[in-house]
């Protein structure tokens, strides 16, 4: 009924999308919390997990309302993935927007990137607004757009893992299968987002950041890790009855 190779491939793809998505999210870490670096002032894992888990919840909601005993049609699966993507994007954009309000009106710094001279999207001059001794501050337009793309990729990746696990489990009315699929998707999500954050090694502003060139290494690492998790997932989800 379920083709193991396709399922394992799709779970692995989901994991790789999560790892890729993390690279788009503007992570500022502790320096950004003091408005001394661009991005949101917390770690990669926290941001990715916040957005990813919201995506998982919205995807789970959509799955539950669309699933039939016969399984999910392909067009319905796309709806579930879109729902997950929108959930994650809303979460990450709201986080960036509220952070932005605090940086602009609370701390009193202009949103500016120190990695590029001109914003690649708006063309605004950046370097003259960067305070001396800092790496930029706030969430400039390019980082905001990049973060939204990151939410999209992470949300699609997380929901893809969840949908595939639910397909193996088969019975969407069994709360044991739902809970196991959700917690397993969370586990794979955390593994991939931490691997990606080790690749970034601290802070990143988005796709315009020079560190973004390290993406291929993270994709290889996430591919191996997700493949391992996917191969393990198959007997677990098939074994619950």
């Amino acid at each position: 009924m379920i083709d193991p190779v396709t399922t394992i491939f799709l779970i692995t793809l989901g994991g790789v999308l999560v790892g890729l998505g993390v690279h788009f999210i503007p992570v500022g870490g502790a320096p950004a919390a003091m408005a001394q670096a661009t991005g949101v002032g917390t770690g990669t894992v926290q941001l990715a997990a916040g957005a990813g888990l919201t995506g998982l919840i919205s995807a789970g909601f959509m799955y539950n309302s669309l699933a039939t005993p016969a399984g999910l049609t392909n067009s319905n699966m796309i709806l579930v993935l879109a729902s997950g993507a929108v959930g994650a994007m809303i979460m990450i954009t709201v986080t960036m927007f509220i952070g932005q309000l605090v940086y602009v009106y609370g701390v009193g710094v202009p949103p500016v990137s120190a990695k590029v001279k001109k914003d690649p999207i708006t063309g605004d001059v950046q370097d003259i607004y960067v305070s001396k001794g800092t790496e930029g501050h706030g969430v400039p337009t390019v980082s905001f757009v990049s973060g939204a793309i990151g939410g999209l990729l992470g949300g699609v990746g997380g929901s893809l893992i969840y949908v595939q696990l639910m397909n193996i489990g088969g019975d969407y009315t069994n709360s044991g299968i739902v809970a196991l699929a959700a917690i397993f998707a969370t586990g794979v999500f955390y593994v991939n987002s931490v691997i990606a954050s080790y690749n970034i090694g601290g802070t990143i502003e988005g796709f315009h950041d020079p560190k973004f060139k390290r993406v291929p290494k993270a994709i290889i690492a996430c591919l191996v890790a997700s493949l391992l998790c996917a191969v393990i997932a198959f007997p677990i989800m098939g074994g619950v009855s």
Binding site: G29, G176, I183, T186, V191, Y198, G202, C229, I232, P235
Partner: protein, 280 residues
């Protein structure tokens, strides 16, 4: 005393190997002692798994302490989340395998299979971190094996405290997964492993203080798991878990406070902030 800020190996009283033996053997022993539950047809021995989970958390916290002393660049919490991400995947796989009918295995082999699976996943992720991501931390592979193994044992230990049984279909699925307590076990177990070093790190970090926090955090999680088990197994067993957990918590919190006073140059009361009138 050696600085444990970024850049060098951590030092401390108990050698890594002793902590590994304590965590791996103690953790597995605690989990396997709950077999008494099945043999004597009771649930009173569930607290044993909690003690196993505490020992495994101490091991995990010590491994986090050793690897994070090199400076990861992403903060200590990430490695705890990685540990439990790997741990949960491995734990569920190992516990479900003997009952899945794919391979003929004795029912009691679940925790051992989980532990071995976690170590293999940890080794592969550690190798990738050093070879592909070029993190260049000399003890990365070894530490990842340890952290994944400890994370897996903490997960199983806390789950068994709640369910009173480590068999997948009889205990873990109805008791921990269907009820949703798995989320509590996931985040709480991660906290027990990542929080001790995150709370104590700095140039004045010492091993015994960090590990005392690990025991204290592990016992708090044991109490929470005991509360959760009220709805899964009977009240007497969960009360025993809660009481044992609280005793360990109080003892080790006092030890932690004593360590803090011992390591501090001076502990002094500053009084309350002055009021506006006093400032004028």
């Amino acid at each position: 005393m050696m600085s444990t800020a970024a850049g060098g190996p951590a030092s401390g009283g108990i050698s890594p190997n002793n902590v590994i033996v304590l965590g791996a053997v103690g953790g597995l022993a605690g989990i396997y002692l709950t077999l008494l539950n099945q043999n004597l047809d009771t649930t009173i021995f569930s607290f044993m798994a909690g003690i196993g989970a505490i020992l495994a958390a101490v091991w995990g916290a010590d491994a986090v302490r050793r690897v994070c002393s090199y400076g990861l660049g992403t903060g200590v919490p990430s490695i705890g989340m990685l540990a439990l991400g790997m741990g949960i995947v491995a734990a569920m796989f190992g516990l479900s395998l003997p009952e899945s009918g794919l391979i003929a295995l004795p029912a009691a082999s679940g925790p051992i299979i989980s532990f071995i699976t976690a170590s293999i996943i940890g080794l592969i992720i550690g190798l990738m971190a050093n070879k592909i991501l070029k993190m260049n931390i000399p003890i990365m592979e070894k530490s990842m094996v340890e952290i994944a193994g400890a994370g897996c044992l903490v997960m199983i230990g806390l789950s068994v405290v709640i369910a009173g049984d480590f068999r997948f279909d009889e205990g873990i699925v109805p008791g921990v997964i269907t009820t949703g307590y798995i989320a509590l076990v996931f985040i709480g177990g991660a906290m027990a492993i990542l929080h001790p070093f995150n709370a104590c790190l700095g140039p004045d970090e010492t091993q015994y203080r960090t590990l005392h926090v690990a025991v204290e955090k592990g016992s708090l999680m044991m109490v929470l798991a005991g509360v959760a088990s009220l709805t899964v197994i009977d009240a007497v067993s969960s009360a025993l878990t809660i009481v044992v957990g609280l005793i360990i918590f109080v003892v080790y919190f006092k030890k932690f406070m004593a360590d803090t006073h011992h390591d501090a140059y001076l502990v002094t009361g500053t009084g309350l902030l002055p009021t506006e009138e006093e400032l004028e």
